[in-house]
């Protein structure tokens, strides 16, 4: 196996190092820029570009990572902005009482008198507002997200569109809080050690630069963590994600809140710089511009959205005005009044629309795609002699000795779809350490059985316990946490992710890294990640050199049989106690089928309990201790493979005739 040298995750470091080097150089360049480019207007424009870049980075978490189309993202921008504006301006001034004194002592408020009773003037510091603005916006993100994130993705788009509108309506109509359409005035600029930022762009430019750098860093850290993988799994296939242990509501909310936090912080920064806030700054045009930035740069691509934001900002503040000037000049030369009056800036939104349509038609992955191109395997690797994998790394997977009782106990389960009875009082038991096969013609309810065990379909009655725990009523990710992992008949891999990433998502439920750990990456998290990767590589190695050389390839590049293997690897990665395999050898040739059957046998020998749906009788005979036959939702037979094969009713169900002849 000459592939080992290059085919280990550590090989990825070179790519990471290169991108880190580029990032550092870019940061140094932009840090030094004001020293030799002393034009306040340009720096101001760049500071604005940075605001949009941070907004685009936040939207990228929601749309690009988690795949939730948010069309009202500017709402969170507005919330951060008004939060800072209200707590630093003279808009809301409750009457002074001594209970405000402690806050005055720490400088959050001051007592003022405008002729009349004493009033409270909020004087929130920019440096406190920046992180807390993020928190406030995140809180609203959770509040908005909670009712709607259970919805299907396409409804979410229109609901967020409405949210964006509602926040604007509130900003326009809640005069006492926001001063309505006239906007907040007298918002305080930041101070640092007594130095007032004032109206020059340079200090804001630096704050913006640090903010972009920070959020790029956070985005990358999240993307490469357990959190980011869970988001991308949701984006690729919600059902499979939840069956692999991802709590959908939790992670969608997290994405929503995280994106909102980015926007809230940007809102604080933006308003501190402008020192005024009006509802128009956060209208739907802003949301749409941000969407265009993300789509142009590449959904899910961190550098892509930053570049998208900078390009569009340059287009608006430099290219289009400049083009108008050129057109006016041409108009003067040719004497065309139409060209002399053209204002290209008015074309901005039209151009946005055209960008969206063209990108979707011709370059959906954006200018800087998130998915890196991987070099194809060498001819040598592709044609290498197939080597069976070893099970050395997996000795810890079995948890008990076979034959100690019933693992999975299904009793009288009924599932109805409208008038159709998909499962009619089906009962079956899988002993601990056993291998049970479910067979039956198409439409007999086999896959429904798997779906009801794993929580994807609700049962009308009956009970399903696994090691004494009732599974019915549990969400799919809770079923997996209890040690039940499955594969799907029609392969459901996370298409745009690599083999390794797919398998790592299988481990999701067994890892503990949270969002803060993912960003800070303390030693415990690093250790967990490296252990997780090692475990995943061990499982990938289970299939010998079929998958190992391909660990870094996107799963779409794999053959059908290899995709099946990845799905099994993903399920094993979750350290299940029982493995549910839905037609694992479908689409494989006889040699491959038998190879896989042997591998399943080895897994069983390690101590895994297995329930499988299979059509190939030689595979069933080789593996199963017990066979269950379903037909039209009824269990019609059960027994040893050889006995069931000769059962008359089974033959009738399969072949439509009384058997034996």
């Amino acid at each position: 196996m000459n592939a080992t040298a290059t085919a280990h995750p550590s090989a990825a470091l070179t790519h990471q190092q290169r991108s880190l080097l580029l990032a550092t150089l870019a940061f140094i360049f932009f840090t030094l820029l004001p020293q030799f480019w002393d034009n306040d207007g340009d720096l101001d424009s760049l500071a604005n570009a940075m605001s949009y870049a941070t907004l685009a980075l936040g939207l990228n978490i929601v749309v690009g990572f988690a795949g939730l189309l948010d069309l009202g993202y500017a709402a969170f921008f507005a919330i951060g902005a008004y939060y800072y504006g209200i707590f630093t301006s003279f808009q809301v001034m409750p009457p002074w009482s001594e209970s405000w004194a402690p806050l005055a002592y720490v400088g959050l408020v001051e007592k003022i008198n405008q002729g009349g009773p004493d009033l409270v003037h909020f004087t929130l510091s920019f440096w406190i507002a920046l992180p807390t603005g993020g928190l406030v916006a995140a809180l609203f993100g959770v509040l908005f997200g909670l009712p709607v994130l259970r919805l299907r993705g396409d409804y979410l788009a229109i609901v967020t569109l409405g949210f964006g509108e509602i926040v604007q309506i509130c900003a326009r109509n809640l005069d006492w809080l926001t001063n309505g359409a006239a906007g907040l005035n007298g918002v305080q600029g930041p101070k640092l050690f007594g130095y007032r930022f004032g109206v020059h762009a340079e200090p804001y430019y630096y704050v913006g630069l640090v903010l972009v750098a920070f959020l790029v860093f956070v985005s990358f850290r999240l993307r490469g963590s357990r959190i980011g993988r869970a988001w991308m799994a949701i984006r690729e296939d919600e059902t499979a994600a939840s069956a692999m242990g991802v709590n959908l509501v939790h992670y969608k909310l997290l994405a929503f809140a995280m994106g909102a936090a980015f926007a809230g912080m940007t809102g604080v920064f933006f308003i501190a710089k402008l020192q005024t806030a009006t509802p128009e700054m956060f209208n739907s045009a802003v949301s749409s511009m941000l969407l265009v930035m993300v789509v142009l740069g590449g959904m899910g691509s961190v550098w892509g959205v930053v570049i998208g934001a900078v390009l569009l900002q340059m287009m608006q503040t430099w290219f289009l005005p400049q083009m108008s000037v050129w057109l006016h000049d041409i108009g003067k030369m040719t004497g065309s009044p139409m060209l002399q009056n053209v204002d290209m800036v008015q074309w901005t939104q039209l151009i946005f629309g055209v960008i969206l349509v063209l990108m979707m038609l011709f370059r959906r992955e954006g200018l800087v795609p998130a998915v890196r191109k991987v070099a194809p395997l060498t001819m040598e690797q592709q044609t290498a002699h197939v080597v069976r994998g070893g099970f050395q790394g997996l000795d810890k997977i079995g948890r008990w000795t076979p034959g100690t009782g019933v693992a999975l106990d299904i009793k009288d389960v009924v599932v109805k779809f409208g008038g159709l009875v998909a499962l009619n009082k089906v009962s079956l038991q899988v002993p601990e350490g056993g291998v049970v096969a479910v067979i039956g013609p198409n439409g007999s309810g086999k896959s429904t059985l798997f779906n009801v065990i794993t929580g994807l379909v609700a049962a009308d009655s009956g009970s399903i316990t696994f090691q004494g725990v009732e599974l019915l009523g549990l969400a799919p990710h809770r079923v997996l946490e209890n040690g039940v992992a499955r594969t799907f008949q029609n392969i459901r891999l996370f298409s745009n992710l690599t083999v390794l990433e797919n398998v790592l998502i299988g481990e999701h439920a067994r890892l503990t890294t949270g969002p803060f750990g993912a960003v800070i990456r303390p030693p415990s998290v690093l250790k967990e990640e490296s252990r997780a990767t090692e475990w995943a590589m061990n499982i990938i190695a289970l299939f010998g050199n079929r998958l190992t050389p391909r660990w870094d390839q996107p799963v779409t590049a794999l053959s059908y049989a290899n995709r099946r293997r990845v799905e099994i690897a993903r399920a094993i990665a979750s350290r299940p106690k029982i493995l549910l395999l839905d037609e694992p050898t479908a689409g494989m040739n006889p040699a491959e089928s038998l190879e896989l059957a042997e591998q399943i046998k080895s897994l069983h020998d390690l101590g895994l309990t297995i329930l499988l749906i299979e059509h190939k009788l030689d595979v069933v005979t080789r593996l199963a201790d017990n066979v269950i036959v379903l037909d039209h939702g009824d269990k019609i037979a059960e027994g040893l493979p050889d006995v069931v094969r000769k059962d008359e009713e089974v033959l009738r169900a399969y072949l439509g005739r009384a058997g034996g002849h």
Binding site: V148, L151, I158, V159, L161, I166, L350, V354, V357
Partner: protein, 309 residues
Amino acid sequence: MTAGDILLQQAINGLSLGAMYSLLALGFTLVYGIMELINFAHFNVFMVGSMIAMLVLQAFGLSGQQTILTGLPLIGVLLVGFIVSMVGCGLIGVLIERFLLRPLRNVKGPAAMITTIGVSYILFNLVLLTLGTDSKNFPNPLPPIKWEIGGAVLRLREVLIWVIALALMGGLTYFVTYTKLGKAMRATAQDPEAARMMGVEVDRVVMSAFFLGSALAGASGMIFGLYYNLAKVDIGFAAGLRAFTAAVLGGIGNVPGAMLGGVLIGLIESGSGQVIGAAWTDVVIFGILVLVLVFRPAGLLGRLAPNKS
């Protein structure tokens, strides 16, 4: 005016708005029912329909509300206005489907929806750049006939709107229930795969859905102009959001549901305008959308759309 009169007046207003929203909601429902796609372009196809209708009426020499027509000229002008705006919008819908959405038919993810958002901006800004942002006086040649019912007023325009909306909805119902293409549409909505295997030409069905839905948006745009006497570039968003809410409320993909939902949303709008104030109408409508989606996602009459999973 007594409370009863106000109620009656708001019911009359609400039914007229409802007629408009129903027609618009049908476009959402037809496309969603077949492709499971929220067509954001629909918002501004409606607006373009209203502009086309205005230009047609102006081409007849009408401007503002000064020129009153009666008899055959009135019927002729209205008929031409409706037909041109409907055919115009229908063609826009077909072009969008054929050239921008068909290449994305089998692409997973939000690509098609993002495309419709892009198309929506394009339509909006093309009208903006050519006709400007100002509110335009929509010609209204209807004679100022009105009937007083108690303290409430019923004008000719309201009756006309009801009659036209009912005729169009009746036509559509007949089409989807009895014609071959209509049956093919319903079959595709139920199960695209099975429909295809039974020989349904899915391309034709999708294109018809876009044509019909967009044409109804065109009619709806003309009704908007006749009702409010104005045309403006930004009318698409509010009307579209209401119509989409109507479609969801009735049960998305469900043709009678869209009609029912439209009427209910119209009544709710005129009611809430009376009770809470027009500035908050969007919030009320939107609250209904969220409540329906959360508590009764199938809507009142049931959802009829393929479940892509």
